[in-house]
Amino acid sequence: MSLTQKSAAELGRLIASGETSAVEVAQAHLDRITSVEGKVKAFLHVDAETTLAQARAVDERRAAGEELGPLAGVPIAHKDVFTTVDMPTTAGSRILENWRPPYDATITRRLREAGLVFLGKTNLDEFAMGSSTENSAYGPTHNPWDLTRIAGGSSGGSAAAVAAFEAPLSTGTDTGGSIRQPAAVTGIVGMKPTYGGSSRYGLIAFASSLDTPGPFARNVLDAALLHEAFSGHDPYDSTSIEAPVPPVAEAARQGDVAGLRIGVIKEFSGEGYQPGVMARFRETVELLESLGAKVVELSCPSFTYALPAYYLIAPSEVSSNLARFDAMRYGLRVGDDGTRSAEEVMALTRAAGFGPEVKRRIMLGTYALSSGYYDAYYGQAQKVRTLIARDFEAAFHQVDVLISPTTPTTAFPIGERADDPMAMYLADLCTIPTNLAGNAAISIPCGLADEDDLPVGLQIIAPVLGDDRCYRVGAAVERALHDRWGGDLLSKAPAL
């Protein structure tokens, strides 16, 4: 088995034991990137020299006798929305083309300190707004399962990089499903931690009250190891939770559902749900029962309003968060020819620098916050948010975790929904309630849909700070399915 096929946990062990080096591992992944990146287009930035220098530094730290974490020397790709001092950070937007941040995000800093080696920055929908990476100013990422299809979004580049074996691990952010949906459609594991469990400092904001950084990996344990490596209270993020990180790696190793109460959310089925997706989901429910879990169906009535509430709250925050991109201090500047006012330069820059989806959301949000409309839109949406949190609360009185398909459909063809924002928004139907309530959820692969032989994701939702439950259930399902499949799902993917 080549180095790029191995799990992150295994690579960490091999590097620690000296059987291989961080440099060898990094080089193997850089070679893989060279060979498949032309088809997948997962990365916006790769710089072999910087990567190898980081890898050498880890090998030197190890040689000097430094005690390093379990992922030291393991390569990782970062969604290009986390600031990195040694690589540009664009958020997938023209307005930040070539921007070099003067500081590291808390997450990139912590991973750097833990000895992870950065392969580069991955593609995303502009400012993380989208479900397909088609909104990236730098072109879409292609699904390694079928290059004519989307890899999901907004963290599509990070998901595709892991699914294409260009990286064993990657970071993403999930505002309405932007980790779970791409994980589902590329057949990998993606976790949205509890809001406040992973720091947002240095994460270029989309919607501050929803944005949640999280891990991608090809298996549950790797995701948990990465989750642990970057989590924990951050004094630079006021919304960061001051509580111990839930024992996610331990839970992933445990992988046991005997006696667990599991709820199936009634609202997430029916019209719009692909039959092949529902078939795999029902099989997984039966699997969980066979493993000793007690499965019940329950209703979360307010979830019906989650999508409209989300599309008021998120754009409102967008309209304010993206105001800073005004050409005055950094990034693109258009029209500054000495005759125009600052206001005109701001307007011209924003007109040229933002793509259509970003502009649509800025306008929606500006409208929703306007005097006279605030109560009807933003205020009302916040009330829905409270109702959704209550639905979750009531559900978690009855069950330990909730499950649903991660997305209603498998990966759709590139271009199919590009001109239909509503159809695009529906890709996040099952994932959005969790962002509105702030609790934890994971997506793990649960098979291929019969219609198109494309991956289907199972979503496992836990209460706030119950992140370990996602990993525990996820690991149990993963083990049982691997036994059934005789290996992991990605082994069924066509060669690139």
């Binding site: 941040p101 995000a105 400092y201 240095g202 904001a205 919304t239 304010s320 005004d326 005055m328 201090r329």
Partner: protein, 503 residues
């Protein structure tokens, strides 16, 4: 920007026809060591853009963390202004585009201020006016724009602008009054007294250096007029960034005279911001507010709510310092001075100095005499603030002690002050170095007196013949001959004795 000549109505006439209503919004920069939402220093006068970081520059990804000291100071201000303190409140984003605002929104507070519903009593001509306080809230300052080229220094007509973000993110407390009614013709004085009292309060609390000339306290003054007999307020104007106490008074007076003229001529007042000009004492039109800006306020999602524990608020309340009005009353009694004298001391920023001098052992009358007299004169001459003079209250107290003991007289004391201020050392060192000791040697004094009597035979004769008043000239002669070092009282005694006149 030019404006057609402004017509004014004489102040007295304006007051006969109209009644003013005021409202004052005051911004106070807190003197915290670090900025409101990051760790950058707040010291004034640093080289441009050297006190900045990703947070206060609003770089992509940066997040604010609220300064606990600033929240505490704001609560103390609220308590000193007799406000209620919110049990739970949030920061809000005020959205508008301007190059000196790094994020293009200001973190402020909207409908949930930290402190609300208080008052401040101010005294004008012996009458107390209670000024209601609507709210006290916390926000961040913006950067400072300088508009280059162009005649007015304003953005319109400028060739280009430069921005210094050192000020961006400095904690700013906004104190908003309720409408101030019933001041009548005293409106300008009440406005000034309010600003003065507020400044004293900030000083007493130690939360800000409140230097209006540096902009660490600035007032926006709202004025409207209503016709006598009406109870419906007129349209108001807001004169922005008035930056001295005297200007607060003058701007109110000017707006009353200007608005009265407009209204009397059948015109209407435009709701707008106006700028005050120190040189002319006039206000000119700024930005019209009739097309109201929509700031699209919403709760700041990057910060958690402020929920000060009641026990914490009680503790802050219990440890508030003596407030200026209370202190003023106490000092007037202790020092036996009139309200007018007290006001003069406040205006000269001498109260704390006098108090410290008294604490160092000087009689209040002497302490006040020196600080308000000789020392105020010297401060004025050198263009420095009284407190900045190179002399300590303890040193002033020592001089008064030397005078009281007879070692110095007032004239010598002035020379001692001169020496201390010139950096020649402590009062005792100056006395020694300059040889300023009063001549106490009776033999030396006696010899000088004999000489003076001999030199002024006519005057001496007059005294001998009973015209005691003529001794003054002889005392003067002794002082002159001793170069001021003689004790004038003792010289007089000895002169009369030698001339055979008994006091």
């Amino acid at each position: 920007m030019t404006e057609t000549t402004t017509t004014l109505m004489a102040y007295d006439e304006a007051l006969v026809r109209f009644e003013p209503v005021l409202g004052i919004e005051t911004h106070v920069e807190l003197g915290t060591a670090s900025k409101m939402f990051c760790g950058c220093p707040t010291v004034f006068g640093g080289a441009p853009n050297t006190q900045v970081c990703p947070v206060c520059l609003g770089l992509p990804g940066a997040l604010p963390v609220a300064n606990a000291q600033a929240i505490e100071s704001t609560i103390r201000i609220g308590l000193a202004l007799n406000c209620s303190i919110a049990e739970w409140c949030r920061f809000a984003r005020k959205n508008y585009f301007y190059p000196d605002m790094p994020k293009n929104f200001q973190i402020s507070q909207y409908d949930e201020p930290l402190c609300f519903d208080g008052y401040l009593d101010v005294e004008v001509d012996g009458k107390v006016h209670r000024v209601g306080i609507e709210r006290v809230h916390l926000e961040e300052d913006t950067g400072k724009s300088t508009h280059m080229g162009g005649a007015t220094g304003r953005i319109h007509g400028a060739d280009y602008s430069i921005v210094d973000y050192n000020r961006a993110g400095i904690p700013l407390v906004e104190i908003v009054t309720k409408p101030i009614e019933g001041t009548d013709s005293l409106a300008p004085e009440v406005a000034k007294a309010y600003a003065t009292e507020l400044r004293e309060l900030m000083r007493a609390l130690g939360v800000s250096d409140v230097r209006m000339e540096e902009g660490s306290m600035r007032c926006d003054v709202n004025v409207s007029l209503m016709p006598r007999g009406s109870s419906e307020w007129g349209t108001r104007t807001e004169t922005k960034n008035v930056n001295s106490l005297r200007s607060v008074e003058r701007s109110v007076r000017h707006e009353i005279e200007r608005q009265a003229a407009v209204l009397a001529a059948g015109g209407r007042i435009v709701q707008e911001t106006r700028h005050f000009h120190e040189d002319t004492g006039a206000t000119t039109s700024g930005r019209s507010k009739e097309e109201a800006q929509d700031y699209r306020y919403f709760p700041e999602p990057d910060l958690v709510p402020i929920a000060p524990a009641r026990s914490f608020v009680e503790e802050l309340k219990a440890t508030l310092p003596e407030l200026p009005s209370v202190k003023r009353a106490r000092l007037m009694a202790e020092w036996s001075v009139s309200a007018l004298d007290m006001e003069a001391m406040y205006n000269a920023d001498a109260v704390d100095l006098v108090e410290a001098t008294v604490a160092a052992g000087a009689p209040a009358a002497d302490a006040r005499k020196w600080w308000m007299g000789e020392l105020a004169r010297r401060a004025n001459e050198s263009g420095t603030a009284l407190a900045e003079l190179a002399i300590t209250p303890a040193q002033v107290a020592r001089v008064t002690e030397l005078v009281a003991s007879g070692a110095l007289n007032d004239k010598l004391a002035r020379q001692v002050f001169e020496g201390v201020l010139a950096g020649e050392g402590s009062p005792d060192e100056v006395v020694a170095a300059r040889g300023l000791q009063i001549v106490n040697d009776e033999g030396e004094l006696s010899a000088i007196i004999d000489q003076v009597i001999a030199d002024n035979a006519d005057a001496a004769d007059k005294v001998r013949n009973g015209k005691v008043a003529a001794v003054g000239a002889l005392v003067g002669g002794v002082m002159k001959a001793s170069r001021g070092k003689a004790d004038a009282g003792r010289a007089r005694e000895l002169l009369l004795e030698k001339l055979g006149v008994t006091g």
